[in-house]
């Protein structure tokens, strides 16, 4: 009987915990694995994973959120961008096992109550998406940027997006969409301010 099964005899895991096949299937012994608890889009996931298991594989294959895409697996293209404790991060460069306790937001956590986030809405209206593969990374990078930049110029936006690669749009409409979303968000927050005063 493995150590893992012994633990199972004494502790009842909460419902969110499901020790999956990742470890057993990979034929590795337990020394190579670790238990990690991640909060993704507000839900807690506790899993035992191989220490080399990438965050992006955890998100995609353990949790089943397929909106985080793999484009290069060496941190250049930005398609796999997520918000890690609020900051944009490449999930292909992170080991899940090293992130115990982290808070993660993926593209699936952006549209609240089914309505598109203002950045998503602007991408739609200004045709800033073609094949859609790089898009989740651009959206999360933009959302992070706009949180701290209320009134960006197009040049500011270009600098903020320079680490994401898009091969379809030539970036022109992406820059316009982020610019439009910025004014939309700015408008929303000033309305909010007026309501507060």
């Amino acid at each position: 009987m493995s150590f893992k099964n012994l633990v199972g005899m004494f502790f009842k895991y909460p419902d969110t915990t499901r020790v999956t096949g990742a470890v057993e299937q990979n034929g590795r012994n337990d020394n190579d694995s670790a238990t990690v608890q991640l909060t993704i889009n507000g839900t807690v996931y506790k899993r035992e994973v191989e220490s080399r298991y990438l965050l992006v594989d955890f998100i995609r294959h353990e949790v089943g959120l397929k909106g985080t895409h793999i484009g290069c697996e060496h941190g250049v293209c930005g398609a796999c961008t997520v918000l890690l404790n609020g900051n944009s991060a490449r999930s292909c460069l992170q080991f899940a096992a090293a992130l115990d306790g982290a808070q993660i937001t993926t593209i699936e956590g952006i549209a609240e109550d089914g309505d598109l986030h203002p950045v998503q809405q602007a991408f739609h209206e200004l045709h800033a998406v073609q094949c859609g593969y790089c898009t989740p990374g651009f959206l999360l990078t933009s959302i992070e940027f706009l949180r701290s930049h209320a009134n960006p110029t197009r040049e500011d936006i270009r600098r903020a997006l320079v680490n994401n690669v898009c091969r379809c749009t030539g970036y022109v409409n992406i820059v316009e969409a982020v610019h439009k979303a910025a004014s939309q968000l700015c408008h929303n927050s000033s309305e909010y301010d007026r309501e507060q005063t």
């Binding site: 298991y53 699936e108 030539g170 409409n173």
Partner: protein, 789 residues
């Protein structure tokens, strides 16, 4: 029917319906599909040598790893999967074949040597490293000039040398015309090797139908029907038991219009192991072994009179075909494309070309956006500038004097391609106007030095081959490229419409634009039309989506198909209302006599009759159902056109090029959705800027690929791409249904020469002629240093 003047929805910038899922991360790309339990995951062992004999493969360490199901080598597929040997029927082409996994010899870095079957992708990766392959390295050739060297190692013994394709063409009396002209200018132009780099790498998932003996391959392709035929041919299976489906595809750019070894292997293995089989490519594999493009050398002579009018052009073109013939295009796609398209929008009546394509120990070349056109227009458009400098005439005026004039349409060019309509002169004049070209030129100092940078302006006029039909493929030797595309339009029992199309979207917005076309022609709401494509079991046979053909051939087929369906609707209603069917119109979801909309029926009511869901009998002789199928084979090609004007600044300190302003005039005939057309122009232009300034696959002399990652294969980022000022001209085709011309490639074709010419103009004060792309900072600095002596 070609001329349609009652468009309703065509021409509107309708927002895309596919955004709803793509923006939420809910697009189902191949790696997002649910996999059956017990799926086998593949990994490929790739050759690290450019040229070597395989002397032994020891799989024992790999198969001993827990979770490894099997490891197969080339010999395990011999007999099971026939080698690729594209059917190219053109004089001067010599056949070579490629096993899906190398057996005795490897011929490029990245060629498949063994296949690992494992329970998970991680184990497959581990096992790849445990397969011990022994190689006996052979001398390799990577470059065109080395391959043509008399002493060069011969890559295919069957060829005797390294030439795979030779082609010659000349117009009547060429030598005399050429000899009679005063000025002859010569130029040599090199294009670097590039590739499409869709952000989604390729991948496939093969699933066995649990009931019937049939196989479904989900694959990232632009050509699902061509893939299915290739599987049937190479695995000797009936086509009827194979279904090819494309999920959402993350960019294609021509790279995904080939059929690759892995697609055949996945199908063969699911048959052999009776399990689902999945493979997802990684970025290194994509850069090593997916179709590369360009690596062309043009040596061009232009005979020009004192008025700068071109009298004759002679081209010697060499291209690097790579180690094998990519299926189905081989290297002849770009080679014939570059040679045949060179006259472009210009009245070049006397033309001669000689093409030589070589095999080398590099990745096989094939299709990439623009195919051949960025290459030949770099040559001819650079020569336009050189003529201007030589004769002291503004390069814009040189172009104006040589363009095919408006009254000359329809025009047949020197190689026999018909230009039915076009706006060549208007396009250039408009581009000069919106870019302020003349004022810029008047202000420009002779040394081009403004505020510490060399600043210049460059022009490119281009034609864009689009919507190639069967005659266009045959004339270039592609025996198995159909040319037509097809649609099935069904008015469902509820009166709504389904359009089944033989093509496959890779981000172009088909689900929106083709719904627009059908809704427009059937007079129904756009939201009531569903478009289904990318599935061989649901759609009729067709060619697929590449070479700027989607809107021309797919759109044309839908228009024709809708005519057939609406004719049936009118016959039924005509009988019911005792009215001549030709007096009926379809509009607002209703069928009614022209001018009396309150008198007719709804489409739903007609459908109820057609599907026998009411007591009204069908007219005598009329079958049940309300649908039609159409196979549309367009003319040889349809030519779109446009002009790019670029202002660029070169920093003499670090050799970097900044694009300061970008102007585009674009004419793709009837526009279905202007917003989407602009998006295509933006994206293609950005790729052209990449090809002009930074992108290049680099092999060393021994055929080792030096930059198979995205840090070293430099893609354009948002700071590299300027805003683009775009003006449209709409000159409908008179040859294609609906007047549509294609639009996906012109941006790239226009950008490469326009950027190069802008840089060349900027450096003209130093006496520098630009003769290659990409124009990387190190190259520019070397040119400046050389000029300074």
């Amino acid at each position: 029917m070609n001329a349609i003047d009652d468009w309703t929805l065509v021409g509107e910038s309708i927002l895309r319906r596919e955004d709803a899922y793509l923006l939420r991360g809910q697009g189902k790309f191949v790696d997002d599909l649910p996999v059956p339990q017990n799926t086998v995951h593949l990994g490929f062992v790739c050759s690290p040598f450019a040229h070597a004999n395989i002397t032994g493969i020891d799989i024992s360490r790999a198969v001993a790893l827990p979770g490894v199901i099997d490891v197969l080598t080339g010999n395990d597929f011999v007999g099971d999967i026939l080698p690729f040997k594209p059917d190219i029927k053109i004089e001067g082409y010599r056949e070579i074949s490629r096993p899906v996994v190398a057996t005795d010899t490897v011929r490029f870095v990245g060629e498949y040597v063994a296949v690992v079957l494992a329970e998970t992708p991680y184990i497959a990766q581990d096992a790849i490293e445990l397969v011990d392959v022994e190689y006996d390295p052979l001398p390799a050739v990577a470059r065109i000039e080395d391959a043509l060297d008399r002493e060069a190692p011969v890559i295919f013994e069957s060829l005797g040398d390294n030439v795979i394709f030779k082609s010659h063409f000349e117009t009547e009396g060429f030598a005399d015309h050429f000899a009679s002209v005063e000025h002859v200018l010569e130029g040599e132009f090199h294009l670097g090797r590039v590739t499409g780099v869709p952000i989604e790498p390729r991948g496939c998932l093969g699933v066995i139908d649990p009931v019937a003996d049939s196989y479904t391959l989900w694959t990232t392709t632009q050509v699902p029907h061509v893939v299915r035929t290739a599987i049937a041919d190479h695995l000797r299976l009936p086509e009827s038991i194979i279904r090819v489906v494309t999920p959402a595809v993350g960019g294609g750019f021509g790279v995904k219009s080939h059929i690759y070894p892995d697609e055949l292997i996945v199908v063969a293995l699911m048959r052999r192991y009776r399990r689902a089989v999945k493979w997802i490519q990684d970025r290194r594999e994509e850069l090593l072994s997916d179709a590369h493009a360009r690596e062309h050398i043009h040596r061009i002579k232009v005979a020009v009179d004192a008025e700068a009018v071109i009298q004759a052009v002679e081209l010697k073109l060499q291209t690097n075909g790579g180690a094998y013939a990519n299926y189905p295009f081989s290297c002849t796609l770009e080679a014939t494309g570059a040679a045949r398209m060179l006259p472009g929008p210009y009245r070049i009546r006397n033309y001669k070309y000689d093409v030589v394509s070589v095999v080398t120990n590099t990745a096989p070349t094939g299709a990439y956006r623009g195919t051949g056109q960025p290459s030949c227009f770099l040559a001819i458009e650079s020569m336009m500038d050189r003529i201007g400098r030589e004769l002291n005439i503004d390069p814009a005026d040189v172009r104006l004097r040589n363009l095919v004039q408006p009254e000359e349409f329809p025009y047949v060019n020197a190689v026999g391609v018909r230009y039915d309509t076009g706006s060549y002169k208007e396009s250039l004049e408009k581009a000069l106007e919106i870019s302020g070209y003349r004022e810029y030129k008047n202000r420009q100092p002779k040394d081009r030095l403004i505020d510490g940078k060399y600043r210049g302006i460059g022009i490119c006029n281009y034609t864009e081959v689009s919507g190639t039909g069967a005659p266009g493929w045959r004339v270039r030797g592609f025996a198995k490229m159909p040319g037509f595309d097809s649609s099935r339009v069904v008015i469902e029992p509820d009166g709504r419409v389904a359009v089944y199309l033989s093509q496959a979207d890779a981000g172009q917005g088909h689900y929106t634009t083709f719904a627009q076309v059908a809704a427009d022609r059937l007079g129904v709401a756009w939201s009531d039309v569903t478009v289904i494509e990318g599935d061989t079991s649901k759609t009729p046979f067709g060619t697929g989506t590449f070479a700027s053909r989607g809107s021309v051939v797919g759109g044309g087929s839908i228009i024709r198909c809708c005519e057939k369906v609406s004719a049936k609707v009118k016959r039924i209603v005509g009988e019911m209302l005792e009215i001549d069917p030709s007096d009926l119109v379809l509009s607002d979801g209703r069928v009614y006599p022209l001018g009396t909309p309150d008198k007719g029926l709804t489409l739903k009511q007609v459908a109820e009759t057609a599907y026998s869901m009411n007591d009204i009998a069908m007219p005598e002789g009329e079958e049940h159902g309300l649908e039609a199928t159409d196979y549309y084979d367009p003319p040889m090609v349809t030519m779109a056109n446009g002009t790019h004007v670029v202002q660029a600044a070169v920093d003499p300190g670090d050799g970097t090029v900044e694009i300061e302003r970008y102007f585009i005039v674009h004419d793709c005939g009837r526009v279905i959705n202007p917003m989407i057309v602009r998006g295509q122009i933006h994206g293609a232009t950005a790729q052209g800027i990449g090809e002009a300034l930074m992108e290049e696959i680099v092999y060393d002399e021994d055929g080792q690929l030096l930059n198979a990652n995205l840090l070293d294969y430099v893609l354009p980022l948002v700071l590299d791409i300027p805003d683009m000022e775009i003006a449209h001209i709409e000159t409908p085709s008179i040859d294609t249904v609906g007047g549509i011309k294609g639009t996906a490639e012109g941006g790239l074709t226009g950008a490469v020469p326009a950027v190069a010419n802008a840089v060349c103009d900027a450096l003209s004060g130093l006496g520098i002629n630009i003769s290659r792309v990409p124009l990387r900072p190190s190259f520019i600095l070397a040119q400046i240093d050389k000029a300074a002596g």
